[in-house]
């Protein structure tokens, strides 16, 4: 129930940000729309700890800047590989262990891996992530371990210990 109110509040803030016209009628429509959508979302059964991850609190936003920094570094590396006339790639498929317990945590970890160019999550089986990497250097494991610990922290508030 708390999550339904949370979703409604988030949606209403989203509406106010998009709208830009703050007449009583439009705000009323906004409230009505949010109510309708919360009802539909509850019928769809998407209002749970995965669909409305309020339990993460602000931790995700503390993780986000670090992720952007990693994305930047990885982008520069991949750009250098692409612009190299010899195209020095050595693609490999490998496996990582995820230390997150919930599906939400694993999704954040897998998406973070995919967002940093050079590594792509191709499959998730339980705690096992199948990764396709562009060069061997991309999977030397240091960044991934760091990322795994940070995502575990986002998920539960304590650093994972795998």
């Amino acid at each position: 129930m708390l999550r339904a109110f949370g979703l409604g509040a988030i949606l209403f803030i989203f509406w106010l940000l998009l709208s830009g016209h703050y007449t009583p009628m439009l705000i009323g429509f906004g409230l009505g729309s949010c109510g309708l959508i919360v009802y539909l979302a509850m019928r769809m059964d998407v209002v749970d700890h995965e669909g409305v991850p309020l339990q993460l609190g602000g931790r995700f936003w503390m993780y986000f800047p670090w992720l952007m920094k990693e994305i930047f570094i990885a982008n520069v590396n991949v750009a250098r590989v692409i612009l190299n006339p010899r195209l020095p790639i050595s693609p490999v498929v490998t496996h990582f262990k995820a230390s997150q317990k919930s599906d939400l945590g694993k999704t954040i970890y897998a998406n973070s891996i995919t967002l940093t160019p050079g590594t792509i999550t191709t499959n998730i089986q339980g705690q096992d992530l199948e990764i396709h990497a562009l060069t061997l250097k991309d999977i030397d494991g240091r960044e991934e371990d760091e990322m795994d610990h940070r995502v575990s922290w986002v998920e539960s508030g304590s650093r994972g210990n795998s």
């Binding site: 940000l17 998009l18 830009g20 994305i71 930047f72 982008n75 991949v78 750009a79 692409i82 612009l83 195209l87 020095p88 790639i89 050595s90 693609p91 490999v92 498929v93 897998a110 998406n111 995919t114 967002l115 160019p117 050079g118 590594t119 792509i120 999550t121 191709t122 499959n123 396709h132 562009l134 060069t135 061997l136 250097k137 030397d140």
Partner: protein, 118 residues
């Protein structure tokens, strides 16, 4: 003065965005198979779009236009890994074999990667 700085920053961002976007697209054309092309495509989604939209943010100033630009980027950041993952796993289950470096070249390449590491 502030206007000038914002103008210069926006120029730099937009040029950087177009650079990364072009490099990513060149990668899509150059790479040998679909999985390696996905790495290049990810570049255009994260850095290319990000810097280009950041440049437009500097032009927009603190208005609702800025909010929309941020929303577009948030949406791209959210959906790009999902569709990349869907594409990669669909290609795997569709039976597309990942490209591996031919044996006579791999020794040289491994040493090259070793050089970059050090």
């Amino acid at each position: 003065m502030i206007d000038l700085i914002l103008e210069v920053l926006s120029w730099i961002s937009i040029i950087g965005g177009i650079f990364f976007m072009m490099v990513g697209t060149i990668g899509i054309v150059r790479m040998p198979d679909v999985y390696t092309r996905l790495h290049a495509a990810g570049m255009t989604d994260t850095m290319g779009a990000g810097l280009l939209l950041l440049g437009m943010c500097f032009q927009a100033g603190l208005t609702l236009v800025l909010v929309r630009l941020v929303l577009i980027y948030a949406f791209l950041l959210f959906t790009s890994p999902i569709s990349t993952h869907a594409l990669a796993s669909a290609a795997l289950s569709g039976g597309v074999e990942p490209y591996t470096v031919p044996a006579d070249r791999s020794g040289k390449l491994n040493s090259l990667n070793g050089e970059q590491n050090s």
